[in-house]
């Protein structure tokens, strides 16, 4: 006696519901003969037997939930016994892998469950247009000699006539018990009625059930929307020890936000160097004064003032897109966000009305906000309303990077570490050591064109090199 177990059905399909059992005890089956019609959440699949012989027992019935590896039926005698054993042996590890992967995939993206994702299955196992054995068997009322004469033309046409009558009584069953109006509503909401739990007698689905189900879906979706796409992960433990940790709120938020920004904004990044040798002298000269007031005169603080002034000169950089109404929203205020690295992750406190504050005030406020961010005392209000962001990684190192625009803003300035470089001086025809600051400007190409981008960046460079322009144009 040989058992036929449910083979692997395709990636991420670990189980299915038996729609129909196509064979019964006593039948003699051949290899590749369809024995089950299985409904998975991806597709309806006909499961071909990998064994041949006379069926002793069928261990599943319509409506059963079966999992990969479960015994479907057992046969006695027949050929291909050794093949069967081989097939079973090779099937086992695959089965384990499939069972392993599926739940994880579900966890990452619950909303893919139940959607009609294309599923690679054995080509012959997919339901075809032409009559399948199951369809042929749907003519149950014609036992006896009819099939034997099926070759005759008259018979063929009569078969057509018969099916006409038969199919009229054979809509797809079983189906969710819901009224046509409820089903139509579900469809309009994009909800699969078969996934809705019914609260009425016998599981009947009401309008309220559909609404409640939809709400749950939307909530679940909001949680995963914009999250990194959930491709099935390999089993990392195959290569060594791993540990799973929940994603923290800040991390998850960052992931969602940046994915959305990265996928919706056509980014362009331009780079330039600003000679801050003179600025650095000034900074050092006045650092003490600012420090006495409780602030910290940093390149970042100066950059905030420069950016704020630049937004006044280039108002296009102080805008947002409203795709819903095809409008560009121009802001008449200037708030600058500063990316701050904390042990919780990336936070972006906002300096409000930066254009109205002097560098000293900005230095002071920046020091306070950064401290609040690091000590988790910052309020949500203090991180909202930004018009433009600055990300300064210079404290750590690097030269140039491509910052991601902090949507719904349209541009961001990235600052890397300044370093001494030989710069050619035309007047003296000599290379002289200058302190050069790498600047990277990313912007939303939907609003800002390349020429505008480089004009903005050049203006910023000029401001770093000749802070006088701040008071000249700001």
């Amino acid at each position: 006696m040989i058992d036929f177990t449910l083979p692997e059905l395709g990636e991420n399909v670990a189980s299915g519901d038996v729609l129909r059992v196509l064979v019964k005890a006593g039948d003699t089956i051949a290899k590749e003969q369809a024995v089950l019609e299985l409904e998975t959440d991806k597709a309806t699949i006909e499961v071909p037997s990998s064994v041949a012989g006379q069926i002793k027992e069928v261990k599943v019935k319509a409506g059963d939930k079966v999992t990969v590896g479960q015994i479907i039926l057992s046969v006695e005698g027949g050929a291909a016994v050794e093949n069967v054993e081989k097939a079973q042996k090779s099937a086992k590890p695959e089965k384990a892998a499939a069972a392993d992967v599926a739940p994880k995939a579900e966890k990452v993206a619950p909303r893919t469950a139940g959607k009609a994702v294309e599923q690679p299955v054995e080509p012959e196992a997919v339901e075809k247009d032409e009559p399948t054995p199951a369809e042929a068997r749907r003519a149950p009322t014609t036992p006896g000699p009819a099939p034997a004469r099926a070759a005759d033309k008259v018979v063929d046409i009569n078969r057509g006539a018969r099916q006409a009558v038969e199919q009229s009584s054979a809509p797809e069953l079983p189906v969710a018990p819901a009224a046509p109006s409820v089903r139509r509503m579900a469809r309009e909401l994009g909800v699969d009625i078969d996934q809705v739990g019914g609260s009425g007698p016998g599981g009947r689905i009401s309008v309220e059930d559909v609404t409640a189900h939809t709400k749950r879906l939307v909530t679940a979706m909001a949680r995963t929307d914009g999250a990194p796409t959930a491709q099935p992960l390999p089993d990392f433990s195959r290569w060594g020890e791993v540990e799973r940790q929940p994603m923290r709120a800040v991390r998850r938020k960052t992931a969602e936000h940046l994915t959305a920004a990265w996928t919706t904004i056509p980014h362009v990044t331009q780079h330039d160097l600003a000679d801050i040798t003179n600025l650095e002298e000034l900074r050092k000269r006045y650092a003490k004064q600012v420090e006495a007031a409780g602030g910290n005169l940093t390149v970042t603080a100066i950059a905030v003032k420069i950016a704020a002034t630049a937004l006044k000169v280039f108002p296009k950089f102080n805008s947002s897109i409203d795709l819903g109404s095809d409008e560009i929203i121009q802001k008449k205020y200037v708030n600058i966000g500063i990316a701050v690295d904390t042990d919780r992750g990336l936070l972006v406190p906002v300096i409000k009305d930066a254009d109205l504050k002097n560098i000293g005030q900005i230095s002071l406020e920046l020091a306070q906000l950064s401290e609040k961010a690091r000590t988790r005392k910052i309020s949500l209000d203090e991180m909202q309303g930004g018009c433009f962001s600055i990300s300064n990684l210079g404290g750590i190192g690097g030269s140039f990077f491509t910052p991601i625009v902090n949507a719904p803003e349209v541009a961001i300035l990235g600052i890397s570490r300044a370093r001494m470089e030989p710069v050619y001086n035309k007047e003296t025809a000599q290379f002289v050591p200058r302190l050069m600051l790498p600047l990277s400007l990313s912007y939303d190409h939907r609003v800002i064109d390349g020429a505008d981008g480089i004009r903005f960046l050049r203006w910023v460079v000029d401001a770093f090199e000749q802070p006088f322009v701040l008071s000249l144009q700001g």
């Binding site: 032409e130 006896g144 046409i157 018969r162 809509p171 016998g202």
Partner: protein
């Protein structure tokens, strides 16, 4: 170039339902059909004329039976011309109606035959001989089906009829052979039997009306035995020859054995079977989809190997601008299915996210008694190995049935034994075709046996059999006593 938002090719019950709804939804619509007015096979040469004749057939049967109630009319005289007039009058009234509905809705009706040029234009060969090219945003193909006439039965003789010519009532033949024991053969056979023909039905399978549950068919078969001369099951027509005295038909199978009576001419010369002679033959072996639409190849529309146009649940073909509905997209080939599909297509074109997703499509055979069913049949449930409960209410226990002197009826529910949900309804008896609508509503609404049982049905009517069959499910029917097990 003349242009329209929606063009519907075919003015049958599917096509005009689609056109009318599309117009109601605010779209500009053109409707193309070879006939002068919308109606299609259903109105011109199908459902409607056959039902007009069946109504008269029923009257004839009742007058014959009336002597049992103390009323005698004598043998009825039938004026075929007048009967034809009545039938044609019904058709005219209906098509006049659809014709004015076209005008009210400002639909552009073009009488002619359409040829598709590409996915957005077609040319109509108009009835007046002019070619008219039309640009469309969306097309709905609703070209229907035609009676199938297998080559072996195709002999060029007016005495061999299909359903269309049989409805014209050329005469009342003394003997009529009906090839095919499906609903068309039985309905038209009943008409001719009532008019006085000796009708023989030959069916190649072992039962009439394949697809319907046997307990329903048995009740019909019993009555047919009285009204028709013979029903030959497991029998098929091998050959037909037109002779001066009649159509010589060679039969093979169970019914081919020379009968004791009848005009058996003995064995055929080739020894293959038994030859019988009939004045007329009606071939009703099924219908074929009219998918050979001129110019279809110029589009991406796909036709499957059974001749049906392939569509999705929204009735869209593989050509995004072209939809198809009705008989040409698949079985069941029924007018009410076509209309529903037509309305779905119109709504989809108007931008609504709807789909064809019925839970039950009723099937009705307008014989006497009528047979009707919807949803799951008992045979199907058995075949699928589904655990269902069957509740039957015989009409012998119905007061209303007895007042009609018709106890030959049965109402049957197929229920989910766990949830007591109604999955299927089967009916046989006079008026079954009207009663089945309640079954459709019950299934569509997901009703259970308790819902049906607790809905008060009017007395004395046949509808009570629906309520009481639900009571049978609980073993508590008022008019059926079932000892406790």
């Amino acid at each position: 170039m003349n242009s329209t938002q929606v063009v519907v090719v075919g003015g049958g019950p599917g096509g005009y339902a689609a056109a009318f709804l599309a117009a109601d939804l605010g779209l500009s619509v053109a409707l193309i059909d070879p006939e002068a007015k919308p109606g299609g096979v259903c109105v011109y040469r199908g459902c409607i004329p056959s039902k007009a004749l069946l109504h008269v057939a029923k009257l004839l049967d009742e007058t014959r039976h009336a002597s049992a109630w103390g009323v005698s009319f004598g043998e009825p005289k039938v004026d075929l011309g007048k009967l034809r007039e009545f039938k044609n009058g019904v058709v005219k009234r209906l098509t006049d109606g659809t014709g004015s509905l076209v005008k009210f809705r400002k639909i552009q009706y073009i009488q002619g035959v359409a040829t598709l040029n590409d996915s957005h234009t077609l040319t109509v060969k108009r009835a007046d001989g002019v070619d008219e090219t039309l640009r469309f945003d969306h097309a709905i193909l609703a070209t229907g089906s035609s009676p199938a006439m297998p080559a072996s039965l195709k002999i060029d003789d007016p005495r061999v009829m299909d359903s269309t010519s049989a409805l014209d009532l050329p005469d009342v033949p003394k003997s009529l052979l009906v090839v095919g024991g499906g609903y068309i053969g039985l309905e038209l056979g009943s008409v001719y039997a009532a008019l006085g023909s000796a009708v023989t039905v030959v069916e190649m399978t072992d039962g009439l009306l394949p697809g319907a549950d046997r307990d329903l068919v048995d009740i019909l078969a019993k009555r047919i035995k009285q009204t028709m001369k013979a029903v030959l099951l497991n029998t098929r027509v091998v050959q037909m020859k037109a002779q001066a005295k009649g159509i010589h038909v060679t039969l093979e199978g169970e019914g081919a054995k020379p009968a004791g009576e009848g005009k058996s001419e003995g064995l055929a010369p080739d020894g293959g079977g038994n030859v019988q002679v009939f004045d007329r033959v009606l071939v009703a072996v099924g219908r074929r989809p009219n998918s050979s639409i001129p110019g279809l190849a110029a589009t991406r529309v796909k036709v499957n190997d059974r001749g049906f146009i392939v569509v999705d649940a929204q009735m869209r073909t593989d050509e995004p601008s072209i939809f198809a509905i009705g008989d040409v997209v698949g079985e069941p080939m029924l007018a009410h299915k076509a209309s529903h599909e037509g309305r779905v297509a119109a709504e989809v074109i108007a931008g609504e996210n709807v789909a064809f997703a019925p839970r039950a499509i009723p099937a009705v055979v307008f014989t006497d008694p009528e047979i009707a069913w919807c949803g799951l049949t008992e045979a199907q449930a058995k075949h699928e190995g589904r655990a269902v409960a069957i509740a039957k209410f015989p009409w012998g226990a119905s007061g209303r049935a007895l007042t009609l002197d018709r106890s030959d009826g049965l109402t049957k529910l197929i229920l989910d034994s766990q949830t007591e949900r109604i999955l299927g309804v089967g009916l046989v008896g006079p008026g079954a075709g009207e009663l089945i609508a309640e079954g459709v509503l019950a299934i569509e609404m997901g009703a259970n046996a308790t819902d049906l049982k607790l809905s008060i049905h009017p007395h004395p009517t046949l509808t009570e059999t629906m309520m009481e069959s639900a009571e049978v499910f609980f073993g508590q029917a008022t008019h059926v006593y079932r000892p406790r097990r």
